[in-house]
């Protein structure tokens, strides 16, 4: 096999074809495997423009009819609202709680906090659907420990997932239980990698803890926080298994998020073409939100470290040279 030559200045502008092509070849298997997944996505768009149902599995082109119907359907707007509410609340609670717990863990170094740092990843490792089963069991009125606890406090007949008022709160709670540890460990890692000197100078300068937090800690943690936000928001917008496992979208239409509605219409009612626009809109929302957050993250990262991911793309083709980073 030919060894890639260390490129001298003369080779800079015209790297040999083999070297130019090599990266694509290396990436190819990965791409092939994942592009195989892109095809279903294209198919989904195509089918959303047809009248395909399981009952009549013929893709008659109907143009935008499914889309227009969807925008006129009040269940669609309810689904968008439910999706946004669920994503907002679970992400908000996870971020705030996660930040708080991470700060606490970062400032303590006793045995308890060290053990907790490891132990609190356990809920994250539980599959969300299993987590929902566990919580369902705890909230049940006959054998549930939490229900018994509430009974001790004199509160009977808590409905949790059975009532429209408390159903959203219940699924958000389960989501927080599973995913808050994700935020905690990310931010904790950020905290632990903060440079010490600014804080030492701030101590000399005086100033309240809150002030230090606002002007020093938060901005430096921004990239970290934004990554946590990105992952959690994207996941919460599409959450399916928790809601479905708890109430299948009920009671009524309270928890019929875009994911759950698409599943119900597509797989349960077998009217697949009319379900696809719901999930395509969800994908659109996810994409828009993601690109905004990634933009903010790039900015925050640049401000924090002076590195910018965009740069290498502008560089010429070739291998990474001494002292450079890709």
């Amino acid at each position: 096999m030919a060894t890639p030559k260390i490129q001298g200045a003369a080779d800079l502008n015209t790297p040999p074809l083999k070297t130019r092509v090599r990266p694509y070849l290396i990436v190819a298997p990965a791409l092939l495997i994942t592009i195989g997944i892109l095809i279903p996505f294209a198919m989904a768009i195509y089918f959303s423009l047809t009248s395909y149902t399981f009952r009549q599995p013929v893709a008659n082109f109907v143009g935008l009819r499914n889309w227009i119907r969807m925008f006129q359907d009040s269940q669609f707007w309810n689904a968008v609202w439910v999706t946004l509410r669920y994503a907002f609340w679970s992400t908000l609670v996870e971020m705030v709680l996660g930040l708080g717990i991470a700060m606490l863990l970062g400032s303590l170094n006793n045995r308890f906090s060290r053990i907790l740092r490891v132990a609190l990843i356990f809920p994250l490792m539980v599959a969300p659907v299993i987590g929902t089963i566990i919580w369902q069991l705890m909230l049940q009125s006959s054998v549930g420990i939490i229900d018994k606890f509430f009974n001790l406090l004199g509160v009977y007949g808590m409905q949790w997932g059975a009532s429209q008022k408390t159903a959203m709160m219940t699924v958000v709670m389960i989501d927080v239980w599973v995913n808050c540890p994700f935020v905690i460990i990310l931010i904790l890692a950020g905290i632990q990698s903060l440079p010490k000197s600014p804080f030492e100078s701030a101590k000399i300068d005086g100033g309240s803890a809150w002030f230090n937090f606002k002007t020093l800690t938060l901005p430096m943690l921004k990239p970290c926080i934004l990554i946590a936000l990105l992952f959690r928001l994207m996941a919460a917008l599409q959450e399916f298994s928790i809601i479905f496992a708890l109430t299948k979208g009920g009671p009524g239409d309270t928890l019929m998020s875009l994911s759950v509605t698409a599943y119900t219409r597509g797989y349960m009612y077998q009217k697949f073409s009319s379900a696809l626009p719901f999930i395509l809109i969800l994908w659109l929302i996810v994409n828009i939100a993601a690109s905004q957050i990634v933009k903010a993250w790039r900015k925050a990262q640049y401000q924090a470290t002076g590195k910018d991911l965009e740069e290498p793309a502008r560089k010429k083709h070739g291998r990474v040279r001494k002292g450079e980073s890709a």
């Binding site: 429209q164 008022k165 009524g252 119900t264 797989y267 009217k271």
Partner: protein
């Protein structure tokens, strides 16, 4: 002379003997014809499935035929989702699946199911002792349909064979009712009062009556649909060649209004999470004093002894009629649900699949399932009439009597159409909304909700062509 007469008599007798033997039906079925084949079966988690899989009967079948049977068991909440996907993939798997009558409307219309009459009527694959006529026509007929929306069941191809059937009535904790001298409610008003008075009858968290409540078609079809039909309401009617939803009729509104009150004042606050399993197991655990659901749901809690905490304490009766309607329990229009087994139209192993279907709906097997298998509602008259069955099922107080009362008027109360899943699930969602409204504000706009539901369902079925 007498000697010749005796000889002639003897010869005649012998001749008739031979004639008798020659005309006795001989089995032409080769049970080993498909030895070595593999069959895939999808079961819903149910006693009917347990009777096949848990008592060694499946192994007996495998030995008799040399066929290897692989099966999966799914809880009811997820079962039809999974089955929908499997069937619509047209992969030919599963070869056999459990289904209900309503699902036949959808699956047969879509071409997923194999018509069975050609197997039933073929003596080379069906034993003469199979005796198809032994099935109650009212039961096996629910699985025959001509696939025209709006047309009633009973004619057309035979799409599936019954494993059992379920009517819907009220099961109650007989021991407690007898102890406290509680009279069985016979009208809706009495039922509401009784259920209300039974709150906390057995400790905190216990309540009067359990009914299903999830956002699922299964919430509508048992007790609710029975009372709905008894009240005189209908789900759809055919007008001018189109299916028109009739859920905004005065009877539908009145009945739904009553049901909402019953749920809020007489049932559990967690009603909206109750599936068949919760409702039944609450009766069995002594949390619910009554159960308005499928006949056998309570039965599985009662038999065999030790099946649940309250096993042996339960009783059954036909149900209630609307206040002031002047009807008696004989007028109750029970809805019917028939768990059955069907064959995948795309299966590669139809011959072997037929042997499976035949075996597990045969008179011999069903005698077992109806007695030791704890499958109370046998669809075969021969089994239902047998002493063995009567002695086992008769142990459950009032069970057989309630069946007798309800059978004449029992039928599928829904209008057959292939969008059944969609229409009844949205119906259940509306019911959940109303219950929530009533529970939180003390009143609910049933008329408004049912009218909105009617409009939604009219749109859902508008593309169906009526024959």
């Amino acid at each position: 002379m007498r000697k010749y007469f005796a000889l002639a008599l003897a010869l005649t007798l012998m001749a008739t003997m031979f004639v008798g033997v020659a005309s006795a039906e001989t089995s032409k079925v080769n049970w080993q014809a498909y030895a070595g084949t593999k069959l895939q079966v999808m079961f819903n988690q149910h006693n009917y499935q347990k009777a096949i899989t848990d008592y060694g009967k499946l192994e007996e079948f495998e030995k008799k035929t040399g066929i290897d049977v692989e099966f999966s068991v799914t809880p009811e909440e997820n079962y039809f989702d999974k089955l929908n996907i499997a069937l619509s993939s047209k992969s030919g798997e599963p070869d056999i699946f459990m289904t209900g009558a309503y699902q036949v409307w959808e699956y047969a219309s879509a071409g997923y199911m194999e018509p069975l009459e050609k197997y039933i009527n073929d003596p080379t694959v069906t034993e003469p002792t199979y005796n198809f006529a032994d099935f109650y026509p009212g039961v096996v007929g629910t699985l025959a349909w001509d696939c025209v929306p709006g047309h009633p069941v009973g004619s057309g191809s035979q799409w599936a064979l019954p494993m059992g059937y379920e009517l819907n009535n009220i099961a109650y904790n007989k021991k407690y009712f007898d102890e406290k001298g509680i009279k069985l409610p016979t009208t809706t008003g009495e039922l509401l009062e009784t259920a209300k008075s039974l709150k906390e009858w057995n400790g905190t968290g216990s309540y009067g009556i359990a009914v299903r409540g999830t956002r699922n078609w299964a919430t509508i079809h048992p007790g609710y649909m029975t009372l709905f039909s008894t009240w005189g309401a209908k789900d759809f009617a055919i007008e001018n060649g189109k299916l028109v939803c009739k859920l905004d009729s005065p009877e539908a509104i009145a009945m739904t209004d009553y049901w909402v009150k019953l749920v809020v004042e007489g049932s559990s606050p967690q009603w909206a999470t109750f599936t068949w399993y919760e409702a039944g197991s609450h009766l069995g655990a002594g949390v619910a004093a009554m159960l308005y659901d499928a006949t056998c749901n309570g039965y599985f809690q009662n038999y065999p002894a030790g099946a649940s905490a309250q096993s042996g304490n339960l009783g059954w009766y036909a149900g209630v009629v609307p206040d002031g309607s002047g009807l008696t329990e004989k007028d109750i229009k029970s809805n019917v649900w028939v768990w059955s087994m069907g064959m995948n139209a795309n299966s590669d192993n139809k011959g072997a699949a037929w042997l499976f279907l035949q075996y597990f709906t045969s008179p011999e097997y069903m005698l077992f399932s109806g007695t030791d298998g704890a499958c109370a509602d046998s669809p075969r008259k021969s089994v239902a009439d047998s002493d063995a069955y009567k002695s086992v099922v008769g142990k459950s107080f009032g069970y057989l009597e309630a069946l007798d009362t309800l059978l004449p008027n029992a039928t599928i109360q829904f209008t057959p159409q292939p969008y059944f899943f969609e229409t009844t699930t949205e119906w259940a969602a509306t019911l959940q909304d109303l219950v929530e409204q009533y529970r939180t504000t003390g009143s609910c706009d049933t008329a408004g909700a049912m009218k909105a539901l009617k409009q939604k369902l009219d749109i859902a079925v508008e593309d169906l062509q009526i024959g």
